[in-house]
């Protein structure tokens, strides 16, 4: 009985998060999987549709274009946020005073309302017309995304940098290692787990980008910012094609899973 007590206690403490995860993540996912093989009408009628919704996605040029748009956005956003977050983390680590203040200031965009910042960024981009030009809209959105999200990534990387022993860095400096050499051969290797975490989290975020698009461009101009998540929203709520939206959502989930696993393997192979 006493052997069972400890695992049971652990289970009880885990229960809230398990329940919440089950209720708000796992069950909806199962529901989406079920909906994706149905033709679900707002009036309440449900018909089994088999793989029809998935087949319609394959033949939907806009869905395939949204996939390309999402990949392009991720290709701009992820490296950019990594560079900005790493740069600010290194700067923050090296400032001799006011570190707490700067950390809070740099984290401020992360806790700012996205609707509010979206409106302000729209004003800022207006004179240059960056959101009106299909060729500049994705980079412009990526800049806003990075501005909004780099604070969190910066904190993760800053924690990683602090784990590098200061005396080792000091010894390397005494031995004549340059700033670049210390960064390249000492800081960067010890940051690999933190970088992996940031890359995975931000890639997932890039694939799921919706709110920025919703607030700033509505998927335009000329569908240049029509991402996968926005397509899911439009299928589901604008066109009330819930089955197709659920199918698109599951495709998005599968892509994110695949990308995350691939990244994990890549990081494991090159420790």
């Amino acid at each position: 009985m006493s052997r069972l007590r400890e695992p049971l206690t652990v289970l009880v403490f885990l229960l809230p998060v398990l329940v919440l995860f089950g209720a708000f993540r796992f069950l909806p996912m199962l529901g989406a999987a079920g909906l994706s093989v149905t033709d679900y009408q707002p009036g309440g009628d449900v018909e089994f549709a088999g793989a029809e919704n998935y087949a319609s996605l394959v033949g939907d040029d806009h869905f395939l274009a949204s996939l390309r748009t999402t990949l392009t956005y991720a290709a701009i956003y992820v490296p950019l946020i990594l560079v900005v977050a790493l740069g600010t983390a290194l700067l923050l680590h090296s400032v001799p005073w006011g570190r707490g203040f700067f950390r809070a200031a740099l984290l401020a965009p992360y806790v700012t309302s996205l609707v509010l910042s979206g409106v302000i960024w729209k004003w800022l981009f207006e004179p240059a017309g960056l959101l009106r030009d299909p060729s500049t809209v994705l980079p412009a959105l990526a800049v806003v995304g990075v501005w909004k999200g780099f604070g969190y990534a910066m904190l993760v990387l800053l924690a990683g940098i602090r784990n590098v022993p200061a005396d080792c860095l000091e010894a390397a400096k005494v031995d004549g290692a340059s700033v670049w050499q210390r960064f390249r051969h000492m800081i960067l290797p010890s940051l690999r787990p933190a970088i992996f975490f940031v890359v995975v989290v931000e890639t997932i975020g890039a694939f799921q980008v919706f709110d920025l698009i919703y607030v700033m461009t509505g998927g335009g101009p000329v569908r240049a910012s029509y991402t996968l998540a926005y397509a899911v929203y439009q299928y589901g709520f604008t066109y009330v094609e819930i089955g197709k939206a659920a199918a698109a959502g599951l495709v998005l989930w599968a892509i994110v899973l695949l990308v995350s696993l691939t990244q994990r393997r890549a990081f494991e192979r090159n420790p």
Partner: protein
């Protein structure tokens, strides 16, 4: 430790049961939108309706005031979640889609019970097959509104009322830094108030007569889109016309940032009066080209199939169509009465101008895929305005997509 674990377990159970709890409620629910622009007046009017219906029928009604923005998305989400209203305000081009999705119940019996003669065009617009799915509450119309001061400053004394005259006025106004025509090309805008009136004025339509194919990729459609593209090239549209959103509070004509609108509602026209002065606000007839036509439609109440108590909801619909209720709504909203022969409730120059436009009103091209087609067509219109496609290419590309959709849905 034991006590803490028990507390955690209890909280979890409480959370779970809380999630499933749903208050019992037998009130008729109406989703209404700000048809009365003044928020305080809007609230006061609907509170009066709630009280009046409850006093007359002894039944409860709950009126939920929703914003116009993303209304279709919100309604779709609520219906899917089973938390939609019993009665909702819909526009004619939304009704066929909801009928096709089996979301609405016919309301012809309530419509026939009244002693008023509704505008025939309104009834036609709200009828799918041989059943009416909406009870007209009011009639809207859009028309051409000018900021005369901007034309005068550009040396134009005669306000343009044909496309050719608008084209001719564009360079003179552009020289003063003012676009002649306001245009909101964002994909989130309804084309009923942007491109479609021009398409109809050019003699075109969105669908063929059978509703089986698109009809906008025609000489008339190209004419309409070329009109916009030409104006854009001359500086005759706002710089951000391709992606611009229409705003009531920051309307370009009212703000002196555009000289005229080809499709303005009366609420916005009153904003022009407030900012430019009554002497500089001219409410004209719809622009003339091959045809003189504009967008105007009934706002109608529809009964949802998921209504908890359809009988009570029908009683409420019947109450909403009584003359005293509708007349007061029209007085506050500035819209027209839905009955034939009915004059506008308030008569000033703005009302007179809009009343004269009523005879040219077209309630949109109703079709189960009407809103979806807008979503497909709008990005191609943007492409033409941004110079990425010619009007011919843009409309032909859009027609391919729309025809594929219509074929798939048949």
């Amino acid at each position: 430790m034991k006590r803490t674990a028990a507390l955690v377990a209890a909280c979890t159970v409480a959370t779970l049961t809380g999630c499933g709890a749903r208050p019992g409620d037998d009130a008729v629910t109406l989703w209404m939108y700000p048809v009365i622009a003044d928020q305080a007046q809007n609230r006061a009017y609907w509170q009066k309706v709630e009280a009046g219906f409850e006093a007359e029928h002894g039944l409860k009604v709950r009126i939920e005031l929703q914003p116009w923005e993303s209304r279709q998305e919100k309604l779709g989400a609520a219906l899917m979640a089973g938390s939609g209203p019993d009665v909702v305000l819909l526009q004619p081009d939304m009704i066929p889609q909801y009928v096709e999705e089996k979301a609405l119940l016919p309301v012809g019996d309530v419509l026939k019970a009244g002693d008023r003669q509704y505008r025939p065009s309104a009834i036609t617009a709200l009828t799918v097959g041989d059943q009416a799915y909406g009870l007209p509450l009011y009639q809207t119309v859009t028309t051409t509104v000018y900021n005369r001061k901007l034309f005068t400053e550009a040396g134009i004394t005669e306000l343009p009322d044909t496309w050719d005259e608008v084209r001719a006025a564009a360079p003179k106004l552009a020289a003063k830094g003012v676009p002649v025509l306001d245009y909101a090309g964002s994909t989130e805008e309804t084309l009923n108030m942007t491109f479609y009136p021009l398409l109809w004025q050019a003699g075109g339509s969105v669908f063929n007569e059978e509703g089986t194919k698109s009809a906008f990729s025609s000489a008339q459609g190209v004419d309409a889109l070329r009109f916009l593209v030409d104006l854009n090239a001359m500086g005759g549209l706002p710089r951000d016309a391709a992606t611009k959103r229409a705003r009531l509070v920051d309307d370009a004509v009212a703000a002196g940032k555009a000289a005229m609108s080809h499709s303005m509602v009366s609420t916005t026209a009153r904003n022009v009066v407030r900012s430019a002065g009554a002497e500089n606000t001219v409410v004209g007839a719809p622009l003339r080209h091959r045809a003189q036509v504009t967008f105007g439609q009934p706002g109608a109440l529809s009964l949802l199939r998921t209504a908890k108590n359809p009988d009570a909801a029908r009683k409420f619909l019947s109450y909403m169509t009584t003359p005293k209720v509708i007349e007061e709504l029209c007085v506050h909203s500035g819209f027209f009465l839905p009955w034939t022969g009915a004059m506008p409730p308030v008569v000033d120059d703005v009302d007179k101008g809009f009343a004269q436009a009523l005879e040219f009103a077209r309630a949109g091209d109703t079709h189960p895929q009407a809103r979806r087609v807008m979503g497909l067509l709008a990005p191609h219109l943007q492409a033409a305005l941004l110079g990425e496609r010619t009007p011919e290419q843009a409309l032909a590309d859009a027609a391919v997509e729309v025809d594929a959709l219509l074929q798939q849905k048949r």
